[in-house]
Amino acid sequence: MADITILYSIIGAIITLIICFIIGTFLPGIERKYVQARIQQRIGPIVTAPGIMAPIKFSFKENLRPNSPAPGLYKALPIVSFLAVLLILLFLTPQMYPAYLLASIIAIVGLLKVEEVSYVLMGSLSKSVMSLSLKFPDIVKGAAHTSGIVRSHLEDISSKRSLRMITYGSFPLYLALFVPVVSAKSLYLSDIIKYQMANGPLLFTTQGILAAIVFFIGSVIVLNESPFNIIEAEADVIQGPYMEYIAGYRSVIYLSKGLLMFTLSALFTILFLGIPLDLLSWNFIVFVVVALIFTLFIGILNAFTPIFTNKQFYPVVIASTLLGVLAIVIGILI
């Protein structure tokens, strides 16, 4: 009897993952066509182009060797980060609640960290032809500083900036993740959901609204969307850590963006609205609606702001950190 239940729960978890993945592939297209293109007053591409058609097309291209000192590690990194995001989504399903520590905030924070650290490694291992490897006569008679200087590629700037994003930029999201923990007095997702089913959704309390704003800013930083996309600023480092990915590996990168968008919005629904990720109940529609609203807000923020440099980045992060701390303090006191 227990075997059949375990079998049914495994199948349930896998089907939930597949359906969430498919919904996630539509989100970049919706952001590009229905939000950004409408604001810029033009017709955009079709809805499936950035999220579904582009990865499929990339998988049919020729597999060249990337220009990197450690190609094996470089090619494995996007798969590792995709699996990390997929595991977060797996641990959010109700079938995983019996596995105690895996369905808690600790596991989610740890896996997000894996996803962020991969940018640092990608940036330092990518040596693209668009910066230093171009055969241009730089070291010639009359040039400045011809000896005794370290010449680095554009992607090295990206990896230094990713370190700064990890150090400062992850504060908002992690602080917002701890506000429900403080209210429900437990680290496990099942307890947080039970608390909200008894006392009403956390979004409608004071600390909930503050934490929701901080969660939104933190998720834009984790997604590397404009205005926080200094890692992949097109006017500067062209594409940053992703420069040398070809064929199948590039399609993994495109797919993981949509998946990350859906995962963050699912996390928001579970932690602040208290609805479990159950495919068979009508509450699943709330997940889809929250994902669409999330995409709408990210698209609007993307279309109306330039890229933030240090001068604008630090004040925003400090302000949202203070808001997060305030929300935690209110949660402890009430």
């Binding site: 950004q36 604001i39 810029q40 007053q41 033009r42 668009m130 910066s131 230093l132 171009l134 241009f136 006569p137 730089d138 070291i139 010639v140 008679k141 040039a143 400045a144 500083h145 005794g148 200087i149 370290v150 010449r151 680095s152 554009l154 090295d156 700037i157 230094k160 404009s226 205005p227 996309n229 200094i230 600023a233 097109e234 006017a235 500067d236 062209i238 279309a303 109306f304 702001t305 330039p306 890229i307 933030f308 440099t309 240090n310 001068k311 604008q312």
Partner: protein, 378 residues
């Protein structure tokens, strides 16, 4: 503001070098720039031109004068009309040819339309380097009005070929329908540009991105020979159009700001756009009647003739000698030559993200400038 920006000398230790290549999204034309960086602050910058060198002055040696005037148009795609205008005026000055009044007014209208299109392109490109795609698309949309007017008068959106020796081409005659279209175009452009400027200057995030970036101290700007709007953004009131006799009949103000940074450069060019609209309206209202081409002139030999005009980027200098109906020893010196050199100093002290913005702020036109020989020894 500091007095003078000095780069670090050869012997001192600099942490790392970042090079941005010939093909780069922030660069509209091919050039190579090396930033010498310490702690993400630029200590020195080195810009290499000569990538675009096609040998135009060498080709022009021995060409008939009319053919050479047609070749000067293809030197640059953005500032094409001003090269032709200057080159034609060199021949008219040397051969003492009178230009009819109506032709002069049409040349001024084309010159100001070109200034409009060039400044709008600069604004759109600057916004794209900032990362703001929405504003860039909005400006490209506003710019379409100007491109259609240029297409109507000249016959092509880029490289219109309006000036010939003795006047303008017969195709560029302004009749009633074209005059009406010009007036409508100017009204629409003024309305759109005002709305956009209000939106742009009241945006706090964009303002914090462009204030205080890429400062070039005024004393150093004068020493390095910067001309044009970049000099007027440093507080100096110098515009060659107030001394040109072609602009004697027109009444306009010279815009001057004194911030010396990216924001002053952007705002100054917007103010100049409004002045250009004013000049075009005056020209269309007071258009004199008469012929537009003067074909009664004869060719004889002249020694080297020089001429200067004010183009959207500064002061352009052209000189050649005429021998037996052909050109000898032509020299063209564009304003971007000194402006680009000055930007190597303006980039010092900023972050790498703002590095390309500091170079783009002087509106460089590398294709105009690449006319020097460079001998390389590896």
């Amino acid at each position: 503001m500091i007095e003078e920006k000095i780069p670090k000398s050869q012997g001192e230790l600099i942490e790392t070098e970042i090079s941005m290549g010939t093909v780069h999204p922030a660069a509209l034309e091919p050039y190579r720039v090396r930033f010498f960086v310490q702690d993400e602050i630029i200590q020195e910058a080195e810009i290499t031109i000569g990538v675009n060198h096609r040998g135009v002055e060498r080709i022009m040696e021995g060409l008939p004068v009319e053919k050479a005037n047609a070749l000067t148009e293809k030197i640059c795609g953005i500032c094409s009309n001003c090269h032709t205008w200057n080159s034609v005026m060199v021949a008219e000055k040397g051969l003492n040819i009178d230009v009819p009044e109506r032709a002069n007014y049409i040349r001024v209208i084309m010159g100001e339309l070109e200034r409009l299109h060039s400044h709008l392109l600069y604004l759109a490109h600057g916004n794209e380097v900032l990362g703001h795609e929405t504003f860039a698309m909005r400006i490209f949309y506003i710019r379409e009005t100007v491109m259609e007017l240029l297409n109507m008068i000249g016959g092509n959106r880029v490289q219109y070929g309006v000036s010939v020796i003795g006047g303008v081409r017969p195709r560029c005659q302004l009749d009633d329908m074209r005059v009406q279209r010009l007036n409508e175009g100017m009204d629409k452009l003024e309305k759109d540009l005002t709305k956009f400027t209000d939106r742009f200057t009241s945006d706090p995030i964009v303002n914090s991105r462009i204030e205080g970036i890429g400062i070039l101290p005024p004393k150093q700007a004068k020493k390095l020979g910067v001309t044009g709007p970049s000099l007027r953004a440093c507080g100096f009131d110098y515009d060659l159009r107030t001394e040109m006799k072609e602009y004697d009949d027109f009444d306009f103000n010279v815009a001057v700001l004194d911030g010396c940074d990216v924001k002053s450069n952007l705002l100054l060019r917007v103010l100049e756009c409004f002045e250009s609209i004013k000049i075009i309206r005056q020209a269309v209202r007071n258009l004199p009647s008469g012929p537009i081409t003067n074909r009664n002139w004869e060719m004889y030999d002249c020694k080297a003739i020089k001429h200067y005009i004010e183009v959207p980027r500064g002061i352009l200098y052209d000189s050649y000698a005429i021998e037996d109906g052909r050109i000898r020893s032509s020299i063209i010196r564009t304003p971007s030559m000194t402006n680009i050199g000055a930007m190597q100093y303006a980039a010092i002290g900023n972050q790498i993200t703002d590095g390309q913005l500091c170079i783009v702020q002087c509106d460089p036109c590398f294709t105009c400038t690449d006319r020097t020989f460079e001998i390389i020894e590896l």
